[in-house]
């Protein structure tokens, strides 16, 4: 089955959002484009936009490959997506508030109790805690795939600490440097103000007790973390401090950072450290990345932690399959953006089906991420399928399965000209007293022909994502 190409679907010819770009592209000298492609790589390497790949010592700093053909969405397509995303994000926050308080949805039997209670991502420490401004997940990345002109599905919600937004910004910056004339010809909605929006959004959810303008900081695990570039980039663009656990301690009931002039109070902490490492007194005692006692300060309402601890229960892959129910339960309406049909292997009937159709399905670990620990049935050998089936039978509840969808493609520039590759889309959502979605996002592209795995850790690349101002 041929995939739907967003630029050149076989049936209908060039799609409208790409018309102006295609006109421009046809006027370009191919040699010049190749040169621009190399320029882009130089820019990225020079500015140090690299990420670390775990387990590859030699190449500890790699670039995420960048493709110069933009992924283009019309204004109309975008409006439809944002409605669905807004609804979903509202539901995610309502679900978190409910799960850590009255647990109505469990009582109503819409989500199985055990799925929450026995879930590692559920933090009993958060029961009864109401975060400042009532927001749990402040920064969300919703992974969306498309399979036809009108069918968009949510592949995954990232409600903990979604990464990649710096690539969205640097990709645009690079495109504007390489092809300034394109942006004069085509009206693309800007994404550059994301850092300001993020700062405003974080300031709006400061603790009630904050006097004057809040002090905001970004908490990073340190310069050896794979996403360190992004942490530094965001702190820099927001004009706030980039702190590590070793800079922080609890002073007089507040979290404070060690400056050259002594300790200074922090009101809002945008943390890029996982829950388990946040507070050695509450969670993992061996953590040197967090702040001893920060959870006490949090419970006293004296600091905003974004995202709140315990939000992982909302983006867990086992919970994911219940998202249509969750959206309907809290918003009273059917979900605008659908889920991909998902088999929960914990259910005997589903497990039977999955085992019988293993070579057709994508099977994922419930708690995995980054494309590790998954099986892409159609691309796997018989032996790989058999081995995976054994793992599946040993611990069915650890897995979910989904059909291998014909993800839409968007062309990339190769040595032989344009060639279609599968893409997905991660728009970024900010939640404070309102919900804001930056028009654009991160388009991830599987660079290998036919491959469906877009993760950067598995050889995926990125594209600039345009939302047209039409």
């Amino acid at each position: 089955m041929a995939a739907f190409d967003e630029m050149l679907p076989e049936v209908s010819g060039l799609r409208r959002p790409y018309e102006a770009y295609d006109r421009w592209l046809k006027e370009q000298d191919p040699a010049r484009l190749t040169e621009k492609m190399q320029d882009a790589e130089r820019v990225f390497r020079k500015t140090g936009i690299t990420f670390a790949v775990y387990g590859e010592q030699e190449a500890s700093e790699r670039l995420i490959p960048f493709d110069i053909v933009p992924r283009i969405l019309s204004g109309q397509e975008w409006r439809r997506l944002t409605q669905g995303i807004e609804q979903r994000v509202q539901a995610l926050n309502a679900f978190l508030d409910d799960i850590y308080h009255r647990q109505e949805i469990l009582r109503a039997g819409r989500v199985p109790k055990d799925l929450v209670a026995k879930n590692e991502a559920f933090l009993p420490e958060m029961i009864g805690v109401r975060p400042p401004a009532g927001v749990y997940t402040h920064i969300i990345g919703v992974d969306i795939v498309r399979i036809s002109e009108n069918e968009f599905y949510v592949l995954e919600d990232n409600a903990r600490t979604p990464s990649g937004v710096s690539y969205m910004l640097e990709n645009r910056e690079t495109m504007m440097q390489l092809f300034p004339e394109l942006f004069q010809k085509i009206k693309v909605r800007p994404v550059e103000n994301y850092p300001q929006l993020l700062r405003q959004s974080l300031a709006a959810v400061r603790p009630q007790s904050t006097k004057g303008a809040p002090t905001i900081a970004v908490l990073t695990p340190g310069s050896y973390n794979s996403a360190y570039f992004e942490h530094a980039f965001l702190a820099d663009q927001m004009g706030v401090q980039l702190v590590e656990g070793q800079d922080l301690r609890v002073v007089d009931g507040h979290v404070a950072m060690r400056t050259t002039e002594g300790y200074k109070q922090i009101d809002v902490l945008y943390r890029r450290v996982d829950d388990a490492f946040l507070d050695p007194l509450t969670f993992r005692p061996d953590s040197a990345l967090g702040v001893p006692g920060i959870m006490d300060v949090y419970r006293a309402g004296n600091i905003t932690i974004a995202n709140a601890p315990g939000t992982g229960i909302a983006d867990d892959k086992a919970i994911y399959s219940y998202m249509p129910e969750i959206v309907e339960f809290y918003t009273g309406r059917k979900a605008i953006l659908g889920n991909i049909p998902t088999w929960r292997c914990s259910e005997p009937d589903s497990l039977k089906y999955v085992l019988e159709h293993i070579h057709e399905l994508v099977i994922k670990e419930v708690h995995g991420s980054g494309g590790y620990g998954m099986l892409v049935g159609p691309a796997a050998t018989k032996k790989e399928c058999q081995e995976f089936a054994k793992k599946l039978q040993a611990k069915p509840s650890n897995y979910i399965a989904q059909p291998t969808l014909a993800l839409s493609t968007c062309p990339i520039l190769t040595e032989k000209g344009l060639s279609p590759r599968h893409v997905d889309l991660r728009p970024y959502v900010l939640v404070s007293d309102r919900i804001q979605i930056v028009p654009g996002g991160l388009t991830r592209v599987a660079l290998k022909e036919g491959s469906l795995v877009v993760n950067s850790s598995q050889g995926g690349g990125t594209k600039d994502t345009w939302v047209l101002d039409d």
């Binding site: 020079k46 500015t47 310069s223 401090q241 070793q246 800079d247 060690r258 050259t260 002594g262």
Partner: protein, 313 residues
């Protein structure tokens, strides 16, 4: 407002950039000596190692004091934490850590220096290429300095960076002098021998001052003038007095900015006053070696006090 850890990162980033360059300068001077005085070459390389503070580590690894061994150890050996390659790597790691405090130009110049030196120092250096490599190191560090001075705001970030540069530079100049102090002592024959002349030029060369010396003191090398130039001259950018003038200035900016003085201010001012008061004759009367040993000790203490007073850890 500046994090203590960031101030620490800036300070060490600049110490290591300075050190990366100083290693190249020392090897450069050693190379010149070895070329002109082939008989005592190994002795000269030993002095170079002493000045670099790397003599013990070197002797654990090598027996022969040759150009190839010493330049390999001081320029590209990553097991030597002070080699140019290690220094530039440490400088870059610190720069990465304090990335948000640096201008894009400064960060890029450090990152590019690291990339190009990593490439250049990946394989052992052919002796014929050594001058090219030394030039490349000096050029890369000059580019970093250029983007730093050209683009950084003159605030506390700049002050802590400069403190690192000048503490390292003062230490380096004092060590070079101390290793060779005996060739500067007044000898019975008031006209230096040819040997002395080479030695004196080598000292000047290792602080890149062999040409500028002549502009200030005219043609002849005289030990008292050389010592005067490297210790007391106000305008020579690697002299102890010059370093302390700027250490004093940046510490004062910090005291004014923060409205608070610390132990480090007293220490820097005492050294500055001592350098201002003394003449080169006093220093020789007191004992050049004793003077330098005290200076190095006080300079190290200043570094420790800065770290403590500004909460680096």
């Amino acid at each position: 407002m500046l994090l203590g850890r960031t101030a620490n990162g800036l300070y060490w980033m600049n110490r290591y950039i300075e050190r990366a360059e100083n290693m190249a300068r020392l090897v450069d001077a050693g190379l010149r000596m070895a070329l002109t005085r082939t008989q005592s070459a190994s002795e000269e390389w030993n002095s170079v190692l002493l000045s670099a503070g790397s003599d013990v580590a070197f002797s654990q690894k090598y027996q022969d004091y040759t150009a190839a061994n010493v330049s390999d150890f001081l320029l590209r050996d990553t097991s030597n934490p002070s080699s140019t390659m290690s220094s530039i790597e440490t400088a870059r790691n610190n720069a990465r850590m304090v990335r948000t405090a640096l201008t894009r130009e400064t960060w890029e110049s450090i990152n590019e220096a690291w990339m190009s030196l990593k490439r250049m120092l990946a394989r052992p250096i052919d002796e014929r290429d050594l001058p090219t490599v030394l030039d490349a190191i000096k050029r890369e560090t000059a580019l970093i300095r250029g983007s730093f001075y050209g683009t950084m705001l003159r605030n506390e970030i700049f002050d802590f960076s400069q403190l690192g540069t000048y503490v390292e530079r003062a230490d380096n100049t004092a060590r070079i002098l101390d290793v060779k102090y005996y060739v500067l002592l007044p000898s019975l024959s008031w006209v230096g021998s040819t040997l002395d002349n080479y030695q004196w030029e080598s000292i000047l060369r290792s602080v890149s001052a062999h040409r500028s010396y002549r502009w200030v003191y005219e043609a002849d090398y005289k030990p008292t003038n050389i010592a005067d130039y490297l210790i007391l001259n106000v305008r020579m950018p690697r002299s102890l007095t010059f370093c302390y003038r700027f250490l004093g200035e940046h510490l004062k900016f910090l005291a004014d900015d923060y409205g608070e003085r610390h132990a480090c201010h007293g220490t820097a001012e005492r050294t500055q006053a001592m350098l201002k008061r003394g003449s080169i004759k006093d220093i020789f009367d007191h004992g050049l070696h004793e003077f330098l040993a005290e200076f190095i000790r006080d300079n190290t203490r200043l570094g420790d006090e800065i770290a403590q007073d500004y909460r680096f850890y």
